[in-house]
């Protein structure tokens, strides 16, 4: 038995339907040739290291599967054609890597944008001790300015 993994980088605008159809199609390719899918993970949205097809963001999917030694070449060819031709509009990059059959299936991956909660400006300013720039104090300053303006107007009158 050989064990492989396929990492896909898709466009950020991929819908849930397209993702599920992609998953089922890839699973069908593998299972047609007596392979078995071990896992299909959605990593989530990422900020890319460099823009690809003018996209700054992308979504990663990781599929792992096992197959027999005789069928592995045809499966890999079929996967390549599905990634590079059939779903070429959705998939920007793909890579197929052979895994060690006895190694554990755990792996490390970078944190996606969906996992790291986006922080608002105020909490960032508080952490970095820049409270003077915060929105509330900004509002106060505007109030002060408007007060000063009204004062000057009164003086004129």
């Amino acid at each position: 038995m050989h064990r492989y993994e396929v990492l896909l980088l898709t466009i950020p605008e991929i819908t849930a339907d397209e993702a599920s159809s992609l998953e089922s199609h890839l699973a069908k390719v593998v299972s047609d040739l007596k392979g078995s899918v071990l896992s299909f993970d959605r990593w989530g949205k990422y900020f890319l290291a460099y823009p690809v097809r003018k996209n700054d963001y992308g979504i990663y999917f990781l599929m792992r599967f096992e197959c027999d030694v005789e069928n592995c070449k045809t499966i890999l060819d079929a996967l390549k054609t599905t990634c590079a031709v059939k779903y070429s509009e959705l998939i920007m990059r793909h890579i197929i890597v052979k895994l060690d059959a006895h190694a554990p299936l755990e792996y490390q991956r970078p944190e996606s944008l969906e996992e790291t909660p986006s922080r608002d400006v105020d909490s960032f300013l508080k952490e970095n001790k820049m409270t003077g720039l915060m929105a509330s104090s900004r509002g106060n300053r505007q109030k002060d300015e408007s007060m000063a303006e009204s004062m000057t107007q009164e003086e004129r009158l």
């Binding site: 980088l9 290291a49 460099y50 992308g58 890579i95 190694a103 792996y107 490390q108 991956r109 970078p110």
Partner: protein, 95 residues
């Protein structure tokens, strides 16, 4: 007048020794010393690979990172795979 002390070792060698010790402890391969790190050496683990890049995104020389040649070669292939999959930059303009 003070008598000149005769040195047993040449001054050039002494200076060389001082230079060597001034850089702190000797470098060692991070993957040879800790076998757990070898399992983590993977193209998907971009946060680990990022430690072996310069600010500009170039691969650090083993002369600097201290890796042995075996693991340096393995690391290089993983970084290049990671670059293809857009997890690491080829060249970073802002970092």
């Amino acid at each position: 007048m003070a008598r000149k002390v005769k040195l047993k070792i040449s001054t050039r060698l002494l200076r060389k020794k001082a230079r060597r010790s001034s850089f702190g402890t000797a470098k060692h391969c991070r993957f040879c010393s800790n076998k757990d790190n070898v399992a983590l050496l993977d193209y998907k683990n971009a946060s680990l690979l990022r430690n072996f890049l310069t600010e500009r995104g170039k691969i650090l020389a083993s002369r600097i990172s201290g890796n042995c040649s075996l693991h340096q070669r393995a690391l290089t292939t993983e970084i290049k795979k990671s670059r293809v999959m857009v997890l690491l930059p080829y060249a970073a303009s802002t970092y």
